[in-house]
């Protein structure tokens, strides 16, 4: 399912003394099967964009097209449920939304809200719990007896069990230790590859964006500052640094080498392996001089 934002504007508390413009003139295309990363500082408007992806917010101007559904400021929307089933959102610290007595019930909650039968929901729960790397025994436990990392995974399973076409992730690894972070991101990446699941990752982490995404959108002060493939984005790291944004370590290192050696690599390396090869061949060439 394709999603596209067309010149979207959103004002919080419109027409009150507290009105505040959050995003303006935001146009983003998310064709089916993409892995898109949205990057920006806190307050850059990326969370507001995220909430438009399944009509949690309605634009105050412009329009959002989700599949065959159009969401605009003046149209009364019915059947948003259908949209919400197709676009699953994993919010930041999703473990805060757990509430049921057992893990299984909590995972089944979403699917059953969308009219799935109990048997089907339970079947999906079994699949989802394995997908997030937990064992089936955990299904009968209370979510509140689990560790923080396990709760996070259960909450993610709850969204996966809705079997959405698009999954939106808001800082899914915040607060986890390095291994937890890597496991979660690898899992989403695998889902994206195996099931062609469209994925939108909202993050601060340039590392994750460059590693997993095939398209990147950079938000700044409520507007789209730049968009393109990771190669395009990181070819001019100076721009990003000027905004006070990080660049991936690999890119930063390549830049340092290029500055010191007064040379330019033929490409922007996005993985350590690529960079190692480039440096190794450079040194061999350099040694001959």
């Amino acid at each position: 399912m394709d999603i596209s934002l067309q010149k979207v504007e959103y004002r919080y508390q419109a027409k009150t003394p507290f009105e505040r413009l959050a995003i303006k003139d935001v146009s983003i295309n998310i064709p089916s099967g993409t892995f898109l990363a949205i990057i920006g500082h806190t307050g850059s408007g990326k969370s507001t964009v995220l909430q438009h992806l399944n009509a949690l917010l309605k634009p105050t101007a412009g329009k959002v097209v989700i599949g065959d559904k159009e969401v605009t400021a003046d149209k009364k929307q019915k059947n948003l449920k259908e949209v919400r089933q197709k676009v699953g959102i994993v919010f930041q610290f999703p473990e805060h939304q757990l509430f049921e007595e057992t893990v299984e019930k909590d995972i089944c909650f979403g699917p059953m809200n969308f009219g799935v039968t109990m048997e089907e929901a339970q079947r999906r729960a079994k699949v989802a719990i394995k997908q997030v790397g937990l064992s089936e025994e955990i299904l009968s436990k209370s979510p509140f007896d689990l560790s923080g990392g396990q709760m996070r995974r259960v909450a993610i399973a709850g969204v996966l069990a809705m079997e959405p076409d698009v999954i939106v992730l808001d800082e899914p690894t915040a607060g986890l230790d390095p291994r937890g972070r890597k496991e979660i991101m690898d899992m989403f990446h695998a889902l994206h590859i195996e099931r062609k699941l469209s994925t939108v990752l909202v993050t601060h982490s340039m590392e994750d964006a460059s590693k997993y995404a095939d398209h990147i959108v950079i938000m700044q002060n409520g507007e789209v500052y730049k968009k393109g493939t990771p190669e395009e984005i990181f070819t001019s790291p100076e721009d990003l640094m000027q905004l006070g944004l990080d660049v991936p370590e690999v890119v930063r290192f390549q830049q340092k080498i290029e500055e010191t050696f007064h040379i330019k690599f033929s490409q922007t390396c996005l993985t350590v392996e690529m960079l190692t090869k480039e440096i190794a061949s450079l040194l061999k060439g350099g040694g001959q001089k």
Partner: protein, 265 residues
């Protein structure tokens, strides 16, 4: 949803009323609530209305702001008026249509009582519009201080109040966040039969409670780590200062009281 509640929200400004000691404001409100009941004719009600209007203009809070904030309560005032119109059957008959009739006394009483009600609401909202909740808490703590002698936990109560005030915005943000998360999981908070909507509250309330308990626990730890061990031996950073303006405002209210007593019938 939560964002729309304007009623009683503090509006920062540098007016005379803003700068008054919260204690004097609290005392004045308390006395005003009492003297409102002295008024019983047009003149005395008129005096009360003028006093309230003077207070509003001194507070420098835009009038439309006060009115827009009062909208939800206006229905209550209107309801009071109608109740008296329909139920009081004394004095001259003014209007009749079938079973429906309005008497002079009903109209008079209706207007007076809803006006009284309206003025009380106005005065209390001036208090909350010009005084930060924490100032009110400090004022109350100070006024209630004598109750310490009868082992009433004034300090603890004030601390509880100030912590609740501190966390109201945080909890609102959290409520909003959980609501959105559950909406994304297919919960419908805003439409459908009542039964479903009541059921929809559970996935909102439970996480909210669980998170609040966790917050409370962490906050208690943080407070202990920062050396909190009850009210004894504590000094106070915020100070209240009673000035000439406070005394004069009280005197002003005294004059109003005297006039009310003089002109009531």
């Amino acid at each position: 949803m939560m964002e729309k509640m304007i009623f009683g929200r503090y509006v920062p400004a540098q007016s005379l009323i803003h700068r008054m000691d919260p204690r004097s404001k609290l005392v004045i409100i308390f006395l005003f609530v009492c003297i409102v009941f002295i008024a019983n004719n047009s003149l005395t009600y008129g005096l009360l209305a003028i006093y309230t209007l003077v207070m509003i203009s001194l507070s420098k809070v835009p009038f439309r702001f006060i009115i827009s904030g009062l909208k939800p309560v206006l229905w209550l005032v209107l309801f009071t008026l109608l109740l008296h119109l329909f139920l009081t059957k004394e004095g001259e008959l003014l209007f009749q249509a079938g079973w429906f009739s309005i008497y002079e006394e009903g109209l008079r009483q209706g207007i007076f009582i809803s006006l009284r009600f309206f003025l009380l609401i106005l005065m209390t909202s001036i208090l909350t519009l010009t005084t930060t909740p924490i100032e009110i808490t400090d004022g109350l703590e100070n006024l209630l201080h004598p109750l310490n002698k009868v082992k009433f936990p004034v300090h603890e109560l004030a601390l509880m109040m100030s912590i609740s005030l501190r966390f109201i915005p945080t909890l609102m943000q959290e409520t909003d966040k959980i609501m959105k998360a559950q909406t994304a999981r297919g919960v419908d908070f805003s439409s459908g039969p009542i039964k479903d909507r009541v059921k929809a509250i559970i996935p909102l309330l439970i996480p909210l409670f669980v998170n609040s308990f966790k917050r409370a626990e962490e906050l208690a730890t943080a407070m202990e780590a920062r050396g909190y061990r009850g009210g004894e031996g504590r000094t106070k950073y915020r100070q209240l200062s009673w000035g000439i303006k406070d005394t004069s405002m009280l005197v002003f209210l005294g004059i109003l009281t005297a006039l009310l007593v003089l002109f009531r019938t």
